[in-house]
């Protein structure tokens, strides 16, 4: 645990020092070059903003309406086959679309069932093993103006589904149900 804390504490300062000392060593005009790069950052954020508005509005309408409950009801027979506990289903659906909402959900589930329960361990594993797919896709593709994403979402969802099933499986194997 100490090593872990140490890494998260020192990672950023060390990255700064490495980059800056390399710049100094190669006699780069560090501040000028920094400013030049930082300008790019503003442009990029402005480019992302429209897609961010579109995405967040869709996600919050979707969540506030209760469609999620309907979806869970619809897929429950299918997920039972894979042995995915029904208590974790809201997270399975929410994880790809909203990071902050799924963190709140995980906190809630863990509080209700206990962190060291089977459900608690499974949701912890699910939460840690995937990213917010829609957010990542929107931001990254939005930033460079890609409109046709081809199979990217499909591949990401396959990876997501695998991590869901793997989470249930590995927790069953390691901790028992």
């Amino acid at each position: 645990m100490n090593v872990i804390n140490w890494i998260s504490l020192y990672a950023i300062p060390v990255v700064f020092l490495i980059i800056l000392s390399m710049g100094a060593y190669k006699e780069v005009k560090v501040f000028d070059i920094f400013i030049e790069g930082a300008k790019e950052g503003i442009e990029t954020v402005l480019k992302i903003l429209p897609s961010l508005v579109g995405l967040l509005v869709a996600i919050s309408v979707f969540r506030a309406s209760g469609v999620l409950d309907l979806l869970i009801f619809a897929v429950k027979p299918l997920t039972d086959i894979f042995g995915i506990p029904s208590e974790t289903l809201p997270l399975v659906f929410l994880r790809p679309i909203s990071g902050s909402a799924s963190l709140a959900l995980v906190t809630d589930i863990i509080k209700r069932y206990g962190a060291d329960s089977f459900v608690g361990r499974v949701v912890s594993t699910m939460m840690g093993s995937t990213e917010t797919i829609f957010y990542t896709l929107t931001v990254y593709f939005g930033a460079v103006g890609i409109k046709k994403i081809r199979f990217t979402l499909l591949a990401a969802l396959i990876a997501d589904l695998v991590s869901v099933i793997a989470s249930v499986w590995i927790c069953t194997v390691l901790f028992g149900r």
């Binding site: 920094f34 950052g41 990029t44 995937t130 199979f151 990217t152 990876a159």
Partner: protein, 194 residues
């Protein structure tokens, strides 16, 4: 595909909201979140400038070139379309490293940097390349050395061993990454290399 999903989320949201009698909540959610998006973007603005600025130093000083060289053996297999020594590799490696160390704030700007480098190699500017798909899928699999947020939530909830899920998260993440890589390779074959 994003078009259909966006349409589905909004239309089903409003229709189900009306049927559930949650019209007010749904409307409020729509308006509020438009504001949230702006807050999010403003929050991102400073960090974004900081990292793109710093990355510019790393690039001009040749640091990225060194990293690119070191990572070539793996990167060449994952991203065969990227030419040797192209700065995209450096940006991708930096982003994956930031993700691995759990530096979320740094990871996003570095990832966007990687995407714009990949976009330079793209002949069809509105369509994603296979390299872009591969990069995004690796990102969504989120392999992280220490999943700090989850550990924090667990210890707050009084877990006896909050870190016991590190191993399970690694295994689930790696399975996701491997299946994602296979999926991208398979699909890019099916869709035709670009």
């Amino acid at each position: 595909m994003l078009n259909y999903i966006w349409l589905f989320m909004l239309v089903s949201g409003f229709v189900v909201g009306i049927m559930n009698g949650r019209v007010k909540e749904v409307t409020q959610a729509a308006l509020d979140s438009a504001g949230t998006a702006v807050e999010l973007a403003i929050g991102l603005l400073g960090i974004m400038c900081l990292w793109t600025g710093l990355m510019n130093i790393a690039e001009k000083s040749g640091l990225i070139r060194h990293i690119t060289k070191l990572a070539r053996p793996i990167m060449q297999r994952l991203f065969p379309e990227i030419p040797r020594g192209h700065p995209a590799i450096g940006a991708i490696v930096m982003n994956l490293a930031a993700n691995f160390l759990g530096l979320g704030n740094a990871a996003t700007p570095l990832g966007i940097k990687a995407m714009s480098e990949l976009q330079k190699l793209n002949r069809n500017k509105d369509t994603a390349t296979s390299s872009m798909s591969m990069f995004l899928v690796l990102n969504t699999a989120a392999i992280q050395l220490v999943p700090t947020t989850v550990i924090a939530v667990r210890s707050l909830a009084g877990s006896k061993n909050p870190v016991e899920i590190i191993g399970t998260i690694w295994i689930a993440s790696c399975s996701a990454a491997i299946s994602g890589i296979i999926a991208v390779k398979l699909f890019s074959g099916l869709y035709g290399k670009r």
